[in-house]
């Protein structure tokens, strides 16, 4: 884990935290989808929960984490192959601005 709290450390931590959160969500999602095999009653009853504001907030967090992780990931791939290595800070800020914009659009559509 990063010790110096500069922007690189935050980028590193953001990648790790979103990765762990998304991995936990992935397996919960797979388990919950098992209700599809149990018939309409089980699945539709579960989907009614998505109207709960807390569940909705959780869904928002998953999508926001996926956008942040995805765009931060593109930056990592670029620098791993030698692209923009000397401009990592600018790349990070740029990708995070794009992420913020997409999250805002998504938030407006969701609520």
């Amino acid at each position: 884990m990063p010790i110096r709290r500069d922007i690189g450390s935050w980028a590193f931590a953001l990648n790790r935290l979103t990765a762990i959160g998304l991995t936990i969500y992935l397996f919960l999602h797979l388990i919950v989808l098992g209700r599809l095999a149990q018939g309409p009653g089980a699945y539709d009853q579960f989907l009614a929960l998505t109207e709960n504001p807390l569940i909705k907030l959780g869904e928002w967090a998953v999508v926001a984490a996926a956008i942040l992780h995805g765009l931060n990931g593109i930056r990592i791939i670029l620098t791993s192959f030698g692209v923009g290595v000397t401009r990592q800070k600018q790349l990070f800020y740029g990708f995070m601005l794009v992420a913020l914009f997409i999250i805002l659009v998504f938030t407006a559509k969701m609520y």
Partner: protein
């Protein structure tokens, strides 16, 4: 950027197989595409304005054979990417060789089980409409 973060991003970590690292890197952008497709279809198609929000909608959607195929591709990609990523995070904690071997096997078992279960589920959902 800090030295620690820059070097972590430069390529495979110590103990990380280059091929496994490359698979993680390749599945990343592939996931962005397939996830975008997955979210768009699940939330903008179906009988309601909010997407596939009923059991019947999902069953009907799965009747097109390309759909279970895409969902299974998505499943394999996302499970592979997430478990290789998880292994990468664990590698940062400098585990011993024996611990790493156990962790790797546990992740392989988890990955194979998840893909098997997900594939069964996708095929079961598709069969419910026939």
């Amino acid at each position: 950027m800090s030295q620690s973060a820059s070097t972590s991003y430069a390529g495979p970590r110590p103990g990380e197989n280059t091929w496994l690292w490359l698979i993680k890197i390749v599945t990343g952008p592939l996931l962005l595409i397939v996830l975008g497709l997955h979210l768009t279809v699940n939330h903008y198609m179906g009988s309601t304005a909010t997407g596939l929000m009923t059991h019947d909608d999902v069953i009907q959607y799965f009747q097109n054979p390309i759909i279970p195929a895409i969902e299974i591709l998505f499943l394999v990609t996302v499970v592979t990417h997430s478990l290789l990523g998880l292994r990468g995070i664990l590698l940062d904690m400098n585990p011993s060789r024996s611990v790493l071997k156990i962790v790797t096997w546990l992740l392989v078992i988890l990955g194979v089980s998840s893909v098997t279960y997900g594939t069964w589920l996708a095929l079961t959902i598709a069969s419910l409409g026939t």
